[in-house]
Subunit: 285 residues, 2 copies
């Protein structure tokens, strides 16, 4: 059983408009909303693959109706708004809700219960109103290996707690280092297994066993939102099954390309996934 944790879950709202123009009034043609957040997306991808998965995190009163097994909090969970026109997607991300000490204690108890039988735990996304060491505390409590997909201070503090794998994208790695990364050199220096996603250029994976680069066979047009979460889902399966690292990396690059080909975050395009599964090239560095 893979467990995903989404501390800053959101109601992801999509607005379709004719053309977003700052300073103007827009009639929203179509409103679509779904529970979101990176860990929720990872779980959706795992379910689509038929993989047993359980999710937890915090949910405010409204979001709890959609995520009834999440830990309830008094404040409302944030909304994210994706304004979609023919040209681009514009994101508006609300700040996360405050979390009380009692709410955090309830999350820790639920985490302990789920992690006790987990093969892999995935911690994903930003933090709501919590100290930056929140992920580090969960990593230290976890009897199962942890994949951490975070950025900034929560990532830095989390690395010190010894996760099994971190998954920054290249911008997040640059933010952590305070400069443009040199790959794979800078991954070694972090002293933790690291998968760095490079958008359409694939990914680099650096572990104590070796370093590999993987590239998709061709570029994929579509919606990159959620591609990183599909990548993480594949990492979680590889770790849960103890698959060889290069195989896991190739699968993650194929699945994340297939997620770009799907219109919404948390889904992937099955034909693209099948096509890419044997076509991703992996090189040992």
């Amino acid at each position: 059983m893979i467990v995903t944790v989404t501390l800053n879950a959101a109601l992801d709202v999509t607005y379709r408009v004719d053309r977003l123009c700052a300073g103007k009034t827009h009639r929203v043609r179509d409103v679509h909303s779904r529970p979101g957040g990176k860990g929720v997306n990872v779980a959706d991808v795992l379910r689509q693959l038929g993989e047993p998965v359980t999710t937890t995190g915090f949910a405010g009163p409204r979001l709890l109706a959609e995520l009834p097994h999440f830990v309830p909090i008094a404040a409302e969970s944030r909304h994210t708004i994706a304004v979609v026109d023919a040209e681009a997607v514009t994101m508006l991300n609300e700040p996360g809700p405050p979390i009380s000490a009692a709410e955090w204690a309830a999350l820790e108890a639920e985490f302990d219960r789920l992690a006790a039988t987990a093969s892999v735990v995935v911690l994903s996304g930003s933090l709501p109103g919590l100290p930056a060491d929140a992920y580090a505390r969960l990593i230290r409590r976890s009897p199962a290996p942890v994949i951490l997909d975070a950025e900034g201070e929560p990532l830095r503090a989390g690395i010190a707690a010894g996760p099994a794998l971190i998954k920054p994208n290249i911008d997040e790695l640059a933010g952590l280092l305070g400069r443009t990364p040199t790959l794979p050199h800078d991954c070694h220096a972090l002293n933790v297994p690291t998968a760095v996603t490079l958008g359409p250029d694939g990914a680099v994976l650096s572990t104590s066993d070796g370093t590999w680069s993987a590239r998709p066979p061709r570029p994929v047009r579509g919606n990159p939102t959620g591609a990183g979460d599909a990548f993480t889902a594949a990492l979680a399966i590889g770790l849960a099954r103890n698959r060889p690292w290069p195989e896991t990396l190739a699968d993650a690059v194929a699945l994340s390309a297939a997620a770009v080909a799907a219109p919404i975050a948390g889904a992937f395009d099955a034909p693209t996934y099948r096509e890419f599964t044997d076509a991703v090239t992996v090189e040992e560095n």
Copy 2:
């Protein structure tokens, strides 16, 4: 007692961002929300003036918590999002909810109850999922004189039902005529008392008693959202008290300028209102 009706009430959400840029991801610095819709704003202005007022309309489950005396509907009321940066305000207006026949019957019953003791009824704003003659039907039921602030087909159908006064802005009047209006000539042709707002240039009022133009003494910088609703509030008071038309028009222009000087819709700046009350110039055409 003035009664305002807001069939398409909304939760008006304001997002403050550093700078809105299409295609980018924005961290929302500050989220503020309040019940809104034109009739709600009109009532807020009337309350600030100490005028007795009752409001009704439709409210979905979430909005009902904020407008508990509104007629409940099954679908959620729409949200409007105002994205505010240092340069401009960008509006995203969701479409309105569907209204069932039973919900419409409940609104008619509540309308009859309130209109029976009303001095003036104000019908404001867009329609949710209702036929375009919804305002016309309420106007025909109303024992009290009705001010109609609508546009497009609901305005056209409403005029045929004989309101006491309509209040289009110049763009809404152009939409109704299908061409650029010639004032005051085109008001006469509508055969209904008509107050046309002209933004910073004041307003024109045309009735069977005469036609007047009113201008504010100086331009006012600020937030024009809700200025039309303050204008309507002053019209309602004038009609309720049977004040002479030119006096009512001057008051409406002063109050709407004072609303521009206030940061949020439904409020006005009292010092500006005092300053403008005797300073608006009115000419008979």
